[in-house]
């Protein structure tokens, strides 16, 4: 090897790294976590069942899992399809096919997830001061990774989708006949929505749009306040990225369990 850390003139050390700590644990956990989540989400998205909790027999509750929101397929159960149905009911078309690709792309182009999967899946680099296995590197300067620059558009779309999730959570407090109540499911869905908003608002693009692009904060005091708030959230972006993956699974699994009749939802309806 005559390139990388053994390029001419550099220290004649052949080891890939001299690190003695367990630097490989973090990328390994990332691979396990992301793979498990994608597997679960893929199975659930194509399952096309147990997404509307009223299926469990309790007609009072109205819990829709975020993986099926908005439910716009002709196959959607009537109560779940609040936004109309116009997609054909085919096994390979998810019931929320209008939004899921954008949510995936929002996370795929997210600055935190980029760090996570570049390190763990692409090994570029596996960890700091650990030689990467690739012979050539052009980063995000060429197609297709040049597309990472579209992150802010997926942020705009994700914010709109969060509004839909918020409406779903709101409806979880209202029964079919219009009466108000609260159930474990409505609390789970609301907590999930709050976390989704926190993750979306903590996005680096949001921080830039809010005020990061300004040079003179003193001329834009409101935007400065907004930028300061988003900057604080942004400091927790990594934690929120993982917490929302967990909260999405918890919310979805809860709705599935109630819809399938595995558990009974405790509520005041």
């Amino acid at each position: 090897m005559t390139s990388g850390t053994l390029s001419p003139g550099r220290a004649r050390i052949t080891a890939r790294t001299l690190r003695t700590d367990k630097y490989w644990i973090s990328p390994l956990l990332t691979v396990i976590g992301i793979t498990a989540w994608i597997t679960y989400a893929t199975v659930r998205v194509f399952q096309q069942n147990y997404y509307w909790a009223a299926q469990g027999g309790d007609e009072a509750i109205r819990y829709l899992t975020p993986f099926y929101s908005p439910c716009i397929s002709n196959g959607c159960i009537e109560g779940a399809a609040e936004w109309g149905t116009f997609l054909p009911d085919l096994w390979f078309i998810p019931y929320a096919a209008l939004t899921l690709p954008f949510l995936f792309l929002f996370r795929f182009t997210c600055y935190y997830y980029r760090k996570a999967y570049y390190r763990s899946f692409w090994q570029s680099p596996t960890a700091c001061a650990v030689n990467e296995p690739h012979k050539k590197y052009s980063g995000e300067s060429r197609f297709p990774l040049l597309g990472q620059n579209s992150h802010r558009y997926f942020f705009y779309i994700a914010a709109l989708i969060s509004i839909i999730n918020t409406i779903d959570a709101f409806h979880s407090f209202q029964s079919e006949d219009g009466s108000w109540g609260v159930g474990v499911g409505s609390i789970v869905l609301t907590a999930n929505v709050i976390l989704l908003w926190a993750y979306t608002a903590s996005c680096h693009s949001c921080r830039h749009i809010m005020g990061g692009r300004l040079t003179n904060f003193s001329k834009h005091p409101l935007r400065y306040k907004g930028w300061t708030f988003v900057s604080k959230l942004n400091g927790k972006h990594q934690e929120l990225a993982w917490t929302t993956l967990a909260s999405l699974v918890v919310a979805d699994f809860y709705v599935m369990a109630v819809a399938a009749g595995w558990i009974t939802d405790f509520n005041t309806f």
Partner: protein, 256 residues
Amino acid sequence: MGYKAKFRVYRGDGEQGGLENYEVDVNEGEVVLDIIHRLQATQTPDLAVRWNCKAGKCGSCSAEVNGKPRLLCMTRMSTFDENETITVTPMRAFPVIRDLVTNVSFNYTKARQIPAFAPPTDIKAGDYRMQQIDVERSQEFRKCIECFLCQDTCHVVRDHEENKESFAGPRFFIRAAELDMHPLDARTDRKSFAKAEQGLGMCNITKCCTDVCPEHIKITDNAIIPMKERVVDTKYDPVVFIGKILRRKPRETGKI
């Protein structure tokens, strides 16, 4: 309580060299640089090491301790197990002059390429006024002590020597951000310079630069990503592009 520590230290230059083993006394409260100095004093008087302040402020004693880019003067011996063999090497992204001393002139070449601060032409010298909230972001970047540990750990140049031509590295992205965010810098081409000349797009934001910074500058979150977003404003955002056409402004974002 003192003890004898096992050390492996790189001896040699860029042509030939390797790790040599030593046993050396360690006293309570010492840092790795103290041990290197004791090696010089007792066993290897010709061991080359660059150092100056011993207080983590001059950025001279950058090296790698157990494979991690660190300042030798800020790495406490108490963080290691007494039975552990501690490996000290020069920074592996730069050519070695001798032993632990590297040639970091790559960084000075990149520094010279950045256009200097351009004072506003419509304000007389002495009349410059700035508010604290307008300069606080730039001030974070002024904490840089130019130890070049961020440059050393950045895989873009560490693992790819050929990228040194087109990639400036994290230390100079914070310089670009410092100037672009400066309320009195008159240049409006910092973003296009960062993209075209500094190779900002090659950074894949894996945050190693932030991880090793001894001044705890949030290089990635506060400089590189904001600069990437500013480049998106000028190069990839059609909404901004249409807005500028409607307002008849040049596409390169000026100061707002």
